[in-house]
C-alpha cells in the first residue's frame, strides 16, 4: 500500500470512457508523471484525485483512507493549474496566505508561513505585487507556493509549465523538483511533454486511451518500452519493415539483408514484423562498434551543434541517425555510402499494430 493509491479507477462521460481500469500506487514523497497525448485521460485522473470529478468506479485512497466521497476542500490536496489561477484581486502575499486563512490560522501565524514560502520560491521582494504585475514564470511560482503553504498531503501539478516559454520551462521544472525534494511532498504531475516527464520524475506512467500503457522509471520507459505505443510516443524512433526468416534463431530479413536479433521471435517464417531503433543507437565512422552492420546511403546531413542528424536510406527505407559532434570527425558528405553499426540489443521488436 502506498501513500496515494488509485485502485481500478474508471471514469465515463456518458458513453465515452475516459479512464479505464487505472491502478497506481504512489509512495510517500514520490514524484510521478502522467504522460500521454491530449485526451488520454491524464488530467481526468488528476481531477478525480483533487475531487473535481467523481470516479465512475474504483477508489482513491490517501494514507489508507478512501477519499473518493470527500469534497475537494476536505481533501487537503494542493493543486497547481496550467492557467496559474491566481486570484487577481489579491496580492502575492494574500494569494499565498489564502489557504492558511481558510484553515483559520491567526494572522500573526500566517505572516511567517508566507515569508517562508516567498523565500522558497525566491520572490521575497514581490510579496506586495498583484498577479498582473508578474511574469508567467513568477506567477506559476506563486501558484506553487500558494498550493504548498497549507502543507497539503499530496501536490497535483496540471501541466504547470505548458504556458511558459521553453527557457523558463526548463529552469522552473528544475526548481519545482528541487522544492518537491526539499519538502518531500508526494506529487502527481500531468504533462504531454516527454522530456519534462523523463527529466524530473521518479516514475512515469505513459497513458493511452484512458489506460496506463507502462509504469516504470524514466530509464526503462525510454530504453525498454513495453508497448508499441510507448516506443513511438516516448523519444524519436525509426521503424523498419522486416520479414521473419528464422523465428527460433531470431533472424529477420530487411530487403536482401539478413539481420540476427539474437532472441526468439513470435510468429513464423515469412511473417512481417516491425523493428524499432532509436536514432542514437546507430554508430558510424572509424572505430564504430556493433555486431550488426547495415549499409546506408546518406541523403541529408544536418549539423545541429552538439548533435549531427543524418537522414539515411537503409534497404530502401529512410531512417534518422543521431550522433554526437566530435571536433576531430567532420560530418560525412551527402550522397556518401557508409556502414551503420548497432547491437542486436538496441533493436526493439514491435508487436503487430
Amino acid at each position: 500500500m502506498g501513500h496515494l493509491d488509485l485502485v481500478h479507477l474508471e471514469k465515463a462521460f456518458g458513453a465515452t470512457r475516459v479512464v479505464e481500469d487505472f491502478t497506481l500506487s504512489i509512495a510517500e514523497g514520490e514524484f510521478i508523471s502522467l504522460l500521454g497525448p491530449s485526451g488520454c485521460g491524464k488530467t481526468t485522473i488528476l481531477r478525480m484525485v483533487a475531487g473535481f470529478e467523481s470516479p465512475s468506479a474504483g477508489a482513491i485512497r490517501l494514507a489508507g483512507a478512501d477519499i473518493s466521497g470527500l469534497r475537494p476542500r476536505e481533501r487537503n490536496i494542493g493543486m497547481v493549474f496550467q492557467s496559474y489561477a491566481l486570484f487577481p484581486n489579491l496580492t502575492v502575499r494574500q494569494n499565498i496566505g489564502f489557504g492558511l486563512e481558510v484553515a483559520g490560522l491567526p494572522k500573526p501565524e500566517i505572516a511567517p508561513c508566507v515569508d517562508e514560502m516567498l523565500a522558497l520560491i525566491g520572490l521575497d521582494a514581490l510579496g506586495g505585487r498583484y498577479p498582473f504585475q508578474l511574469s508567467g514564470g513568477q506567477q506559476q511560482r506563486v501558484a506553487l507556493a500558494r498550493a504548498l503553504a497549507p502543507r497539503p498531503r499530496v501536490l497535483l501539478l496540471d501541466e504547470p509549465l505548458s504556458a511558459l516559454d521553453a527557457q523558463i520551462r526548463v529552469s522552473l521544472r528544475t526548481e519545482m523538483r528541487a522544492i518537491q525534494r526539499e519538502l518531500g511532498i508526494t506529487t502527481l504531475f500531468v504533462t504531454h511533454d516527454q522530456e519534462e516527464a523523463l527529466s524530473i520524475s521518479d516514475r512515469v506512467v505513459v497513458m493511452n486511451k484512458g489506460r496506463a500503457e507502462q509504469t516504470d522509471v524514466p530509464f526503462a520507459i525510454y530504453n525498454r518500452p513495453a508497448t508499441s505505443f510507448v516506443a513511438n510516443f516516448v523519444g524519436a524512433l525509426n521503424t523498419l519493415e522486416a520479414v521473419i526468416e528464422n523465428a527460433t534463431g531470431g533472424h529477420v530479413r530487411i530487403a536482401d539483408l539478413t539481420v540476427p536479433l539474437g532472441r526468439q521471435l513470435q510468429g513464423q517464417k515469412g511473417d512481417s514484423i516491425r523493428l524499432a531503433i532509436r536514432p542514437e543507437s546507430f554508430r558510424h565512422g572509424a572505430g564504430a562498434g556493433g555486431d550488426i552492420v547495415l549499409p546506408a546511403v546518406l541523403e541529408d546531413v544536418h549539423f545541429l551543434g552538439s548533435v549531427i542528424r543524418i537522414r539515411a536510406r537503409v534497404a530502401g527505407q529512410l531512417i534518422s541517425v543521431d550522433s554526437f559532434n566530435r571536433p576531430d570527425q567532420p560530418p560525412p558528405p551527402v550522397g556518401a555510402t557508409t556502414a551503420l553499426r548497432l547491437s542486436a540489443s538496441d533493436i526493439l521488436v514491435l508487436e503487430a499494430s
Binding site: 473535481f52 481558510v102 498577479p131 498582473f132 511574469s135 506567477q139 523558463i168
Partner: protein
C-alpha cells in the same frame, strides 16, 4: 472635402440636432418662469418643494435596496449557471429578458394579485411590505441589465480555474463568492447598479399603481399641474440619469483596464 465625408458630417449634424434640439428647447423653456427674462425660478420652486426631496430620497433609498437585492440574486445565479449549469444558460438568458417583453403594467397587476391583503403572502398589507414588493418589482425590471453586466464580468476571467483553486485551498462556496468572485466582478456589478439606479429613479407604473411616494409619479404629477417646473424637473432628472450614465462609463473604462490586466495575467509567457 469629399462628397462622402460631407454626407457623413450632414448625417451626424442632423442626428445631433434631432436629439439636442428638444433638450435645448426644454432647457430654454425651463428658464422662462419670469416674464421677459431668463431665470432659475422654476428650478428654485422645484428644489424648495418638500415633495421633490422626499420623493427623490424615497426613490434613492429604494434603488439602493433594489441594487443589494439584485446583487444577492444575480451574482450567485450567474456564477452557478456559468460554472455548473452551462446548458441552462440560454433558458436563464431568456428568462432575464422577459421584463423587456412583458409590459410593467402586466407585471405589477400580477404582483398585486399574488401579494394582496387576501393572498397567502399579504405584502401590500403594510407600508414596509409594499416597499419590499416595489423593490422586488424593480429587481425584475433591472434584471436584463444587471444579469448581462454581471454575466459579462464573470466571462472576463477563468471562473472555473479560480473556483477550483479556491476549493483546493479549502474554501467553501460562501468564501469563494465573497472573497474570490465578487471582488473580480465588482466593476461589472457597479455597471449593473448604475443602470438599476437610473431605472428606479424614473420608474412610474409600479410606484403609481402601488401608491408609493416615488420620484417617477411626482414628475408626472408636476407635469400635469404646473407650467415651467416640469421642464426644470425634467432637466434635473436628466442630470441625475446622465450622472449615473457617466459613472457607468467610468466603470466601463475601469472594467476594460481590469480586463486587460486579467488577460495579461492569463497569457503572459515570458519572465
Amino acid at each position: 472635402m469629399s462628397a462622402r465625408r460631407l454626407l457623413a458630417w450632414a448625417i451626424l449634424i442632423a442626428a445631433v440636432l434631432f436629439f439636442a434640439l428638444p433638450l435645448i428647447g426644454m432647457f430654454e423653456f425651463s428658464l422662462r418662469a419670469r416674464r421677459g427674462t431668463w431665470s432659475l425660478d422654476a428650478y428654485a420652486n422645484v428644489l424648495k418643494d418638500p415633495q421633490f426631496l422626499g420623493t427623490l430620497a424615497y426613490s434613492a433609498v429604494l434603488s439602493v435596496v433594489t441594487i443589494v437585492l439584485g446583487i444577492l440574486i444575480v451574482v450567485p445565479t450567474a456564477f452557478w449557471v456559468r460554472l455548473k449549469f452551462r446548458r441552462f444558460r440560454p433558458v436563464v438568458e431568456f428568462i432575464t429578458v422577459l421584463p423587456l417583453v412583458i409590459p410593467p403594467i402586466v407585471i405589477v397587476f400580477g404582483y398585486l394579485r399574488l401579494y394582496n391583503t387576501s393572498s397567502w403572502l399579504p405584502l401590500t398589507g403594510s407600508t414596509t411590505g409594499t416597499d419590499l414588493l416595489l423593490s422586488l418589482g424593480y429587481v425584475t425590471l433591472s434584471l436584463p441589465y444587471m444579469y448581462r453586466a454581471i454575466d459579462n464580468g464573470l466571462g472576463a476571467f477563468d471562473l472555473k480555474a479560480l473556483t477550483e483553486a479556491a476549493q483546493s485551498l479549502g474554501a467553501g462556496w460562501g468564501r469563494i463568492l465573497y472573497r474570490v468572485i465578487l471582488p473580480n466582478v465588482l466593476v461589472a456589478v457597479l455597471s449593473g447598479a448604475f443602470i438599476t439606479f437610473a431605472i428606479v429613479i424614473g420608474e412610474y407604473v409600479f410606484a403609481a399603481l402601488m401608491n408609493r411616494p416615488a420620484f417617477g409619479p411626482y414628475m408626472v404629477w408636476t407635469g400635469s399641474n404646473k407650467a415651467y417646473e416640469p421642464a426644470a424637473l425634467a432637466v434635473v432628472a436628466f442630470g441625475l440619469t446622465w450622472g449615473a450614465m457617466g459613472l457607468l462609463q467610468l466603470a466601463a473604462t475601469l472594467s476594460t483596464t481590469g480586463l486587460s490586466k486579467t488577460r495579461l495575467s492569463k497569457t503572459r509567457r515570458t519572465r
